[in-house]
């Protein structure tokens, strides 16, 4: 038993090299953009990048846990839209801002738990389950709103998207605080340890007497809550709850998580990597606009970078496994 735990630890052993490389690429890109355009290195623009990246960060943090546990959640974009719509309906129905936000977060938690329950109790592939829920929640948002965005909320609500806290704004600070919280949770808590173990060797974890169901549910619930927080930010920022909000956001956040060095096979996860990857993608998108490069190239470039990073990470981890233990595979 101890041995299998050791193994889990070894597989999940942190290795910060890919993250260092990401920082290096990020800085290189920032340097290039600063030289190429006088509009890049201004506080206004840097704040834009942080602001734009914050939504990706919030969603990708929850996604990091899910992917590190060996799962995937395709429903986050739709959950963001649904929880935003629920908050809007609650406010329009006369509820206070705080209560409405809580309702939205509860919707996120509930959808996440539902994901987790179907995946763990019925043992169905997470890809299919969350794909189904993605469409279900999107459809529900469209039905609730009748396809028409709900617009106009109290100041106390829009503050969450467009307010000011010193030179920064609530989404940026929310993303930063969540990042800190997630890092502590993943690296220092029992929950984080079990999350990685779920992805590394689920069977071993089960045999050591840990409730797989409980932790799987918690992981997906966390992801649902971060998706709802993303819904809060996007709804508050646009002062509109759109049934189509967060379109394709699930793919952006999965891309950021994988780019950040979290393994798609589970067992390995990095919060710092996710944060840097979100900033990297945010900077890339911003830089391409600042340089007036057409949107066609944006998608091409983002795809190329993700592919290169994933190939690099995979080659490296294979080398490592075969290098350290020639006979272990």
């Amino acid at each position: 038993m101890e041995k299998s735990k050791d193994k889990i630890i070894k597989i999940s052993a942190k290795n910060s090299l890919p993250q260092l490389l990401l920082i290096f690429v990020l800085l290189g890109m920032a340097l290039f953009l600063s030289l190429a355009s006088p509009f890049f290195l201004t506080w206004e623009n840097l704040r834009n990048i942080l602001d734009h990246s914050s939504l990706y960060i919030i969603l990708a943090l929850g996604m990091t846990f899910v992917i590190a546990s060996g799962g995937i959640d395709l429903s986050v974009g739709a959950v963001a839209a649904l929880s935003g719509v629920c908050m809007a309906v609650a406010m329009k129905g006369g509820l206070g801002v705080g209560a409405s936000i809580l309702i939205g977060l509860a919707v996120g938690a509930a959808t996440g738990t539902l994901n987790g329950a179907v995946i763990s109790f019925l043992k169905i592939n997470p890809f299919i389950v969350t794909l189904g829920f993605m469409s279900l929640w999107r459809g529900l948002s469209l039905i609730i709103t009748g396809g028409i965005p709900i617009y106009g909320f109290p100041r106390g609500f829009t503050w969450w998207g467009s307010g000011h806290i010193g030179p920064l704004n609530p989404p940026i600070l929310l993303a930063a605080l969540l990042g800190l919280f997630a890092a502590i949770l993943l690296n220092m808590s029992r929950f984080g340890y079990y999350t990685l173990a779920l992805g590394g060797n689920e069977e071993a974890l089960r045999r050591s007497g840990v409730s797989i169901h409980l932790y799987k549910n918690l992981v997906y619930m966390l992801c649902g809550v971060t998706a709802a927080l993303g819904g809060l930010v996007v709804t508050a920022r646009l002062n509109t709850a759109e049934p189509l909000a967060g379109w394709m956001l699930e793919l952006d956040s999965i891309a950021a998580v994988v780019l950040g060095g979290t393994s798609m096979n589970g067992g390995r996860g990095s919060i710092a990597g996710t944060l840097i990857a979100c900033l990297l993608l945010g900077t890339l998108r911003n830089g391409l606009v600042i340089l007036s490069i057409p949107s066609y190239y944006q998608q091409l470039l983002i795809g190329l970078i993700i592919l290169l990073a994933v190939i690099f990470a995979e080659v490296r981890s294979r080398k490592k496994i075969s290098g350290s233990k020639p006979n272990s595979r």
Binding site: V25, A36, F39, N48, G147, Y151, Y297, L301
Partner: protein, 380 residues
Amino acid sequence: MMKVKMQRTLACILLFILIAVTAGCSSPASSPPEEEINGTGAAGEVDESDKEADTEAEATEATEVSPKAREIEQVLMGQLAPLPEFNNNEKIGVLIITLANPFWVSMKEGYEEAGAELGVDVTVMAAPTEGDTKSQLETLEAMVARDYDAIIASPIEPFNLVPGVVKANKKGIKVINLGPPISTEALEEEGGWLDGRITVNYEDQGAMAAEYIVEKLGPDGGKVAIIQGIPGAGQSEGRTLGAQRVFEEAPNVEIVSIQPGNWDRNTAYNIASNILQAHPDIKGIFCCNDVMALAAADALEAAGKREGVVILGVDFISEAHEAIKEGKLDGSIAYSVKIYTKAALILALKTIQGHDIPEEVFSPLALVSKENVAEFEGWE
């Protein structure tokens, strides 16, 4: 160990080359960033005159401007008099909806040609896809961080660009709204405003198309359907409403289905075949744009039921022009992209130069059908 290190460095270098090369390759397509650092240097002017030479060459190729187009241009320019000063090299940024739709691609070309003609430095940007409201806002915000004198914006939906417009207002960048409306009510609430608006009347577009369908159906009427764009999008709602009103008022005409096609060819194709399944006696389909109308025509053709069904779209893209000539499509509602974009740039110049402008400028419309398609030869 050495090998691993080598690979790491190699991957780094690769990534950098990739970024540098792609950035380098694509910048000639737009304005190269280096020139902007040096101000409006000689290189920039060469670029401009190149563009002008290009458009002149194109113009001589297609010297015949359609009579309809000339008529419409005069109506619109009348609304814009007196004209501003040209060739001052003002920087105007344009934010359109997406480059993944032929209509917006032709709008981009229209802007660029009109910019060269008027001596204005025009840069056109877009959201990656038609549904990506958040990316479009981010693109606008990044544009505001640059040094444009004015920005012409066409939002995906009424609210998504509001925060970006407010930022532009604060920075003193003039904002012109073209096409789908930006909600002025939402803007006011955030302390923002629009400096001008130019649009086509969407309800009129739907109504004109529907009137043609009703006319073709004759006194017997029949079943009709509407395929919308993305629900909630201004053009889609307006066109649907206009068509719906006309259909409801017409005797013996019954609307059997109104479905969202999301501006998407494939979705519209499926909807059209489903409608045909449910109502084999369908007589008319109005689609909120040409791409979807062409798909509907294809779907009916594939089912062998194209005969006897009147299908109309909106936008009069070049593919629709061909299709109307061939009889594949029954008609479309046209507004000249060339005149529309030129008018938008003139409107932007007027605001930059401090002219008074009308609160809202409407681009005139024309119905194209097989009866009059010959008059639209050379239409842009």
